[in-house]
């Protein structure tokens, strides 16, 4: 009973639950046995090479495609059985989208607000706030088709938020945007996360994802190959046992002290740094560095070697070295 309660409690904390999801197009298996849980308030980056199954997964989550089998729940609600309720929980920004000619920004927001049967006064109030949030307040009376791509993208995010959804799903929102528009989009998403929204974003621009997201999922050939908090995924892939010691002089002494330690191995020696692989505890590392300093080595710093998302991506998708 207690376990059941705990599981239910854990389930309540999950915004998106995907279990054993399968989708095939004919003989091609687009998504295979995908299981993923995204907690509330996360900014989740969905990455993978072209054809990995990201967009298919996103379309299934958004109710635009039926899976062959599996379970999807948003905010604890079964997405397949409660399509109407799910639409209230979800805001979707597709990778490519069009706008209507001869429709003003304000009318565009009105149109989508009224699709959720919202009152016109309520739509007006919320759309004013959202247009301010996406920095389009001065474009209310502009025709949508006259906006730049970046503005249209931000307007689409505002449109997706008109009904105050719990989950915002963005498929490649930065594709085709100039650097300034990308920065604005990144700031917007971070602001939204700060407001407590759960955001799922698929993107090819890994450096931006690593700056924005707190958790990631990497897909390859229809399967999820790694998922979780970015630090955890990095640690799982690169390990937590690589250390870089930067120093000015005393290389030989430093190497001698390192070799005296039992659970450490020198990987490489550079002009100003020594890279190590180790299996030591933190106090042992501190004692080793302390011994170096006491032995006259001019240590300018030491840090754990961090991997980046691009290296991680290349490694887990099988193309890394």
């Amino acid at each position: 009973m207690a376990v059941c309660m705990a599981m239910r409690k854990r389930g309540c904390n999950r915004m998106l639950q995907i279990s054993n999801l399968y989708k095939s197009y004919g003989k091609f298996q687009a998504v295979s046995n995908l299981t993923l849980h995204i907690p509330k308030g996360d900014l989740f980056g969905f990455v993978g090479p072209n054809g990995a199954g990201k967009t298919t997964t996103i379309r299934m989550v958004c109710g635009l495609m039926l899976p062959n089998s599996g379970y999807i729940a948003i905010n604890g609600i079964d997405a397949l059985a409660n399509q109407k309720e799910i639409k209230r929980q979800l805001g979707y920004v597709p990778d490519f989208f069009g706008v209507y000619d001869n429709l003003k920004v304000r009318e565009y927001m009105d149109f989508y607000g009224s699709m959720y049967r919202m009152h016109s006064r309520e739509i007006r109030r919320i759309s004013d706030d959202l247009l301010e949030l996406v920095n389009l307040s001065d474009k209310k009376e502009a025709f949508v088709d006259t906006l730049s791509r970046g503005m249209k993208q931000r307007l689409c995010v505002a449109r997706a938020l008109i009904h105050n959804p719990a989950l915002l799903v963005l498929d490649e929102p930065n594709s085709g945007l100039d650097p300034r528009a990308r920065v604005e989009m990144k700031e917007l998403l971070q602001n939204l996360r700060g407001m407590g929204k759960t955001i799922v974003i698929s993107s090819h621009i890994l450096s931006e994802l690593s700056e924005m997201c707190n958790s990631i999922g990497i897909m390859n050939h229809g399967s999820l190959v790694a998922a979780g908090r970015i630090e955890d995924v990095m640690e799982g892939v690169f390990g937590n046992n690589q250390l870089v010691i930067t120093l000015e002089e005393g290389h030989e002494t430093a190497i001698r002290i390192i070799n005296e330690c039992t659970r450490v191995k020198v990987d490489s020696v550079g002009e100003h740094e020594i890279r190590l692989s180790h299996n030591m505890t933190k106090p042992e590392i501190a004692r080793m560095v302390g011994a170096m300093i006491a032995g006259g080595v001019v240590v300018t710093g030491f840090h754990k070697q961090e991997g980046d998302l691009e290296t991680l991506f290349m490694r887990v998708t099988g193309d890394g070295r």
């Binding site: 495609m65 397949l80 979707y92 001869n102 699709m115 049967r117």
Partner: protein, 313 residues
């Protein structure tokens, strides 16, 4: 009052475009040309007859009404055929499907837009249509009957257009498919009665008489014509203009004796007209239902979900 957002948006967007102005201009121009042509024919005929030219003006009613119904029948499928496929081409369809609107609401919004637009044209032509009533002395009720028929034509042609739009990815394919549907209704429904009539004539020629069941029940094949819009309109105008029914004598081609079965009922009184009206409305809603099923990206999702729940248990 809740107004379907699609109707509100589509009408607002289209009324800002010059297309609607040009559309009404061309519509009125065609009506004016038909009006003057009909007037000149009426005037020409009156020279050789002693009849009153004013009473002949009643013939403007079927001429103008049929012209308008033909225009509606041709234009409405073109406009509606791009309603769903146009959203797909514009890449706004996916967004629409993730909003709070159900597929049937989307379809009803599209069909209502088409009907409202059709009615723009019909209402704009009311002053011209009123002439036979003012000068020719027709009953005003027929004007409202015409509005009803125009509404039915708009609904029927819009439902064909929307169904085709949901079936095709490209608008142009949807337009072509809509006209194929028209062909099926206009010509396809004529084929079975013609085949039966030809077979009956051949049997009569070769055997000397038609076998009993074929003679008695063969006439029921004429029920196919209930689905023929041309027969429906012909029946309507025959009743309005001549006070007679075209369908009351139906079935006398194949058999010498009075037909039995449903055809016997349908060809008495107003039954043909009533049944055909109900059929066309029913078919329209059936088409709209199929279109809504067709555009639902996760049709059958609830059923699959319940299967999944059973499997989990």
């Amino acid at each position: 009052m809740y107004l379907n957002p699609i109707v509100k948006k589509d009408i607002m967007v289209q009324s800002r475009s010059m297309k609607i102005c040009w559309g009404i201009f061309v519509y009125e121009l065609v009506l004016a040309l038909v009006f003057f042509l009909a007037m000149s024919i009426i005037q020409g005929n009156s020279r050789y007859s002693t009849g009153n030219i004013y009473s002949a003006m009643v013939w403007l009613y079927p001429v103008l009404a049929i012209t308008q119904l033909i225009i509606l029948g041709l234009v409405v499928p073109v406009k509606t055929a791009s309603s769903i496929s146009g959203e797909k081409e514009r890449q706004t369809f996916d967004i629409m499907m993730t909003t709070g609107m159900s597929p049937i609401s989307v379809i009803l919004g599209k069909v209502m837009t088409a009907i409202v637009q059709g009615m723009f044209f019909v209402v704009a032509s009311m002053p011209v249509m009123a002439l036979p009533f003012i000068i020719g002395g027709m009953s005003w009720a027929y004007l409202f009957w015409f509005l009803g028929i125009a509404l039915l034509v708009s609904l029927f042609s819009a439902s064909i257009g929307i169904l085709c739009s949901s079936l095709c990815k490209k608008s142009i394919s949807a337009v072509i498919l809509s006209y194929v549907f028209y062909l099926i209704f206009f010509l396809g429904t004529v084929v079975p009665p013609v085949v039966v009539a030809v077979v009956a004539e051949n049997l009569r020629y070769t055997l000397g008489s038609i076998p009993q069941p074929f003679e008695v029940y063969g006439d029921n094949i004429y029920l196919c014509l209930l689905l023929n819009p041309a027969v429906y309109l012909a029946e309507f105008f025959a009743r309005v203009m001549a006070g007679e029914s075209l369908t009351n004598n139906m079935g006398s081609f194949a058999g010498q004796t009075k037909a039995q079965g449903p055809i016997a009922l349908m060809t008495t009184g107003y039954w043909w007209f009533i049944s055909a009206t109900i059929l066309f409305v029913g078919i329209s809603f059936l088409f709209l239902y199929f279109a809504s099923k067709r555009i639902n990206p996760i049709r059958g999702g609830r059923r699959r979900a319940s299967h999944a729940v059973k499997n989990r248990h």
